[in-house]
């Protein structure tokens, strides 16, 4: 299987000083469903940020979607990000845009025609059970609803890779279950590779998954 993420001797650091991840070697294959766990401050989110180029490796090599992230140009980075869907713990929705426009963001960036984009947004909002709130603004929604919108946005452009940073961290059981279902669906139905940073792996997952843990700057796989 193709490798969507390949890390060799990967080291990550804050401000080129404090090493967070040291000489990590791992890979994520296309279609994998991956959890990254670790204690608070262990570097889970930092590792995830490096996958979409928000943090460059200090040493070693990191290849995402066939593109080496180490010295990636801004145009190549934009190209890579157009094939990734990201879900953040704090949702990161554009506050002065409606829910509909927030979900349409990756479609606009990828140059979809408006009518195609409208159909896709309707479909996704229906899927996350928020089609009746298409004209609302993020602050008019609950935390769970906002995370469902962020989820719909991450799936909108059928990305090859979905990265989720503590996607259910602040959510109630109902919204959490909905988010897990959506992530599983993206993996099984859309064949997207899913990488999730979390403290807690749900017990009732319907997919097989890989599990990496980070401890003392070392990334290792748990079988």
């Amino acid at each position: 299987m193709d490798k969507v993420i390949l890390a060799e001797e990967l080291s990550l650091a804050y401000n080129s000083e404090e090493t967070i991840i040291s000489k990590a070697n791992f890979s994520v294959a296309s279609g994998d469903f991956v959890f990254i766990t670790g204690a608070s401050g262990s570097g889970k989110s930092t590792l995830l940020r490096s996958f979409y180029g928000a943090l460059r490796p200090e040493n070693g090599s990191l290849i995402v979607g066939g593109v080496e992230v180490n010295n990636i140009s801004s145009s190549k980075l934009n190209f890579l990000r157009r094939h990734i869907g990201i879900v953040f713990q704090d949702y990161k929705l554009v506050k002065d845009w409606t829910i509909g426009k927030n979900v349409a963001l990756p479609l606009i960036i990828n140059g979809y025609a408006k009518d195609v984009s409208d159909i896709q947004v309707d479909k996704l909002l229906n899927h996350v059970k928020l089609s009746h709130k298409i004209e609302k603004y993020p602050q008019e929604l609950s935390g769970g609803e906002q995370q469902r919108v962020a989820m719909a946005r991450a799936l909108a452009h059928n990305p090859i890779l979905i990265l989720a940073d503590e996607p259910t961290g602040n959510l109630d059981d109902y919204s959490s279950r909905l988010i897990w279902n959506l992530l599983e669906g993206a993996n099984t139905q859309l064949e997207a590779t899913v990488v999730i940073v979390t403290h807690h792996i749900p017990e009732d997952l319907a997919v097989d998954y890989k599990h990496f843990n980070i401890e003392g700057g070392t990334v290792y796989e748990i079988n």
Binding site: I86, F88, K92, V94, D96
Partner: protein, 270 residues
Amino acid sequence: MRSIKNHLSLIIALFSIVFTMQIYIVIDRTVVAYEKDLNDNYSVVVVTKNKVAPKKLVALSPTISSAKEISTKEVLSNLQSQMKQRHIDLLKLSLPHFYALHLDHYPTPSELQNLRKQLKRDTQITRIEDFSKSHDSIYTLLLLYKSISILFAIGIFAVTSLLIIKEMRIWQFQHNERMSIMAMFGAPVWMRSAVLFRLAIVDAIIASILAIATFSYADFIKVGNEQLTSIGINIQIFDLVGDGILIVGLALSLSIILATLIVIGHKEEV
């Protein structure tokens, strides 16, 4: 509502800037018109023994724009009732020649002194009257007007800078997060900044229209016209084409500079 609020903050800032700039233009125009009026009504009078060609007098100093002989006919005709024609004819022969010298600008006291020196070098000239006493007091008044207008310009610059810095902080806060989120999904720089530039251009146009409408109305109802005319100044408060282009240009430039600074200073937060 949120959108209107976002627009209003920049529109008000830009309107204040272009409004004060136009006020400065009107003040400057008044000072220039006053200076021109002073210059039009000012001339140095020289007396010569013999008749001199006005061209020769003009050549004496580069500040002299024209020279004209002052006719003595009127003075002599006043004397006709009191003197015999024979005496008047004799007087005519012995009378010196008077010339009014017009200058290309209203001179400073030192320029006037220089001019006096230059004129004195000509042996034909026997007397120079430059009305220096009244000239100096009028010139002081003109300097005062000019200083006020320069102070006003400095004030505008300070207010403009403060407003722009304040707006920049507000805009950074408003737009940074959206630009970062767009960057996370691979939007190129032009796309991330497009919203910002569109907003900046629309707001600049709205602020310009408001300022143009305000000054066109002020020009139409002739605000301050009576007072200015009473001191001999006739100026146009607002020139729709010239001033209009300047207002639109300034508002557009400022808002585009502001948007560019935000784009340059943008840092990914995610």
